[in-house]
Amino acid sequence: MNKRWGYWLFFAALFLAPFYLTEFRLSLLGKFLCFAIVAVGISLIWGHTGILSLGHGVYFGLGAYCMAMYLKLEASRGHLPDFMEWSGVRELPWFWKPFAHPMVAIAAAIALPTLLAALLSYFTFKNRIQGVYFSLLSQAVVVVFVTLFIGKQEWTGGTNGLTNFSTVFGFSLSSPLTQIVLYWLTAAVLALIFVMTRRLTTGRLGKVLIAIRDAENRVRFLGFNPTVYKVFVYSLSAAFAGVAGALFVLQVGLISPEMMGIIPSIEMVLWAAVGGRHSLMGAIMGAIVMNTAKSFLSENYPDLWLLLLGALFVVVVLFVPKGLAGIYESLAAVRIKEKRGHECEARVDVS
């Protein structure tokens, strides 16, 4: 089967989802698509460039908080947000003020994670810190941010996070129509990011990235500067996570430091791992399949679901180390082999 047709079919199915899913299932799928956006970014840096980041929760969280600040201000209708009132803040802090404008919030949701990622990755990659050391550093960033967001309760809502929003651009967040529009927006963003990232990875840049993954020193000897490439893709994947966070808040209506913590950060890597980190579509499928399994199992077996989910993960790692994409590829490889086999037989018959 032509791969391209598969992609068209997949995205067509996503866009038509509002017609065949119930309101509740659609909101779940919308949430999973946000996760899929993150997974594309992870696949880009981990599968294609060999950077294992265990800190993408921070970029996701920053994007989400930027959007949530706007939503919270709109829900408060000119008053102080409720958590500030009882945390003893009398006046809106200066850095909250610009977030009253939705465009500023959206821009910040992309720009802040990108800037932070650029800064972090520039200093680490420039000093040629690689591999497991980078992973550890990215974890440390998570701990720093989670502690900061919990400690500054009067600015961030503490462990409760930001929640209880009412409207976006004046449209009620609880109305089914708004939710469908937001779902389509998420699906469109995912499609856009997928196409863009695919272009990147199949082009010349993608070759350099894979070269960096496999032998960074050789790339350097060939006259490339790996730092530039690595900082670029890392920041790009952080921007994806930021966008995903903003879309997540719009659909789920909640963000708290818990969701940018270490466990969610590792979960993001797991999605890419289960789906197949070397494949963008694999990562998307991984995020959707893992989260669907999580919802399905926890609804049907509230006492057992963690065990089942763990078993599923172990099975994937043991038997299909290349993830869901690996299954597809080995099937495709067999088909080609069989085809060639038939051709050989045919030739033998002729002769």
Binding site: T22, F24, S87, S174, L254, E299, P302, D303
Partner: protein
């Protein structure tokens, strides 16, 4: 073909069979449910059963506390069903796992209200989980019964709060300590919303009532090294340590306090998150002599409580204990049932209307639903932890205290919630 490939093929086969089976089963169930929903238009009623949701963390860090609440709620539902059900219908509980994860609470609450159309949800423990469910129940006009003491400053029209708010737990405890233990307070808490808000209230109250704060420390959840904080306590010698630590940290703190040679006679520790269930985990030997403030103890002497404790132990094992949140969860189900009976309907708005002013003889004594705030009138009790892990009641408020989540009736509370 290589054997590894055969493995993969097998696996794929198994996975797809499971997936297909699962999908078919779930869609069949969905279909059945949809068909049922078409039969009856009102919330949660399907033939002769009425559905309610039970939404606690059955996995993750909060499971250790929340599983007992689920047990208590299921027991209450069983009792109501055994006595003929509600308005001629049996209650069917739908249990969901919140997984100690706040978006999951929002997701499952949405599922219970939209897909299962439950008449009420009983659930939550942490404030964060309640805050996550709040917009969902408000938007879907659902009904949430939240059974744990919390930091107040909230009153949603779609939530009933059956645990204590601050003026039924923290505020009277501070007044009692000022009168009976001394004026100097050391505030120690885990770093999250409840301790920070509670301490803000305590500081305002101490300022107004002539007490003094000699230290205020927060540690991350799960923190286990308290040596520096204990040496600080030794240095400033407060009369009272007001403890809002949560979970495992309590084990470390109390053990290290005892090892440092500080006895309850030197410094009294007053806790607001340690009940019988937690004492079992921490060990009564290191806690004996310290205090806690709640609305209910397993030793509370009412006929309702004797029956409740006996039934709970018979059902779930003699080694189990009851405590304040367990009792509040149990009471919540019965209060809802009483309100439904009074309203003669499962409709949320009518149940809410009927619930206002409703009185019920709970194991903790008589409670009454305050129509305005949807909190309960509750009796406050201060108890001393005994070597057997139970409480000896030192003081109680004598009568149920009116809930005041925004502390409007206290002159010093004005600045907190304007």
């Amino acid at each position: 073909m290589k054997p590894t490939f055969m493995w993969k093929l097998w696996l794929l086969l198994c996975v797809s069979v499971f997936a297909l089976g699962g999908c078919a089963a779930s869609s069949a169930v969905d279909q059945a449910k949809n068909e049922n929903q078409n039969d009856s238009s009102s919330a949660g009623k399907e033939g002769d059963v009425v559905k309610v949701g039970i939404l606690h963390s059955l996995s993750g860090t909060m499971a250790i506390s929340e599983v007992s609440l689920r047990d208590a709620e299921l027991m209450a539902i069983e009792e109501i069903n055994a006595s003929g059900g509600l308005l001629g219908k049996k209650i069917e509980p739908i249990v969901e796992d919140g997984a100690s994860d706040w978006p999951t609470f929002a997701e499952k609450a949405k599922k219970l209200l939209q897909k299962d159309q439950v008449a009420a949800i009983f659930g939550g423990w942490t404030s964060a989980s309640r805050k996550a469910m709040l917009p969902v129940v408000e938007q879907n006009n659902g009904l949430l019964w939240y059974p744990v003491q919390y930091e107040g400053m909230e009153s949603s029209p779609n939530i009933f709060y059956t645990g204590a708010t601050t003026n039924q737990q923290i505020v009277p405890a501070v007044s009692w300590l000022l009168k009976n233990r001394g004026k100097t307070f050391f505030l120690l808490g885990s770093d999250y919303v409840f301790p920070r808000t509670a301490n803000k209230i305590i500081k305002a109250q101490l300022k107004a009532e002539g007490g003094q704060v000699v230290g205020e420390e927060y540690t991350p959840l799960g923190h286990t090294d308290y040596s520096t904080i204990i040496s600080k306590i030794k240095q400033v010698k407060p009369a009272v340590v007001f403890n809002t630590l949560n979970g495992d940290s309590n084990v470390a703190f109390f053990k290290q306090l005892k090892d440092a040679g500080i006895t309850p006679k030197d410094v009294t520790v007053m806790s607001v998150s340690i009940a019988e269930e937690e004492i079992r985990g921490i060990g009564p030997d290191v806690l004996a002599g310290h205090l806690a403030v709640w609305n209910y103890f397993q030793t509370t002497d009412t006929p309702e409580n004797k029956a409740f404790v006996q039934k709970y132990k018979e059902k779930y094992g003699q080694d189990r204990v009851t405590d304040d949140p367990i009792e509040a969860a149990y009471t919540a189900v019965h209060l809802w049932a009483e309100a439904v009976k009074k309203a003669g309907s499962f409709d949320v708005d009518q149940v809410k209307k009927a619930a206002a002013g409703l009185e019920y003889k709970a194991p903790e004594g008589t409670v009454k639903i305050d129509g305005e705030t949807q909190h309960l009138w509750k009796t406050v009790r201060i108890g001393e932890i005994q070597a057997d892990g139970q409480f000896k009641e030192l003081w109680n408020s004598g009568q149920p205290v009116k809930p005041d989540p925004y502390l409007k009736s206290y002159p010093w509370g004005k600045g907190l919630s304007e």
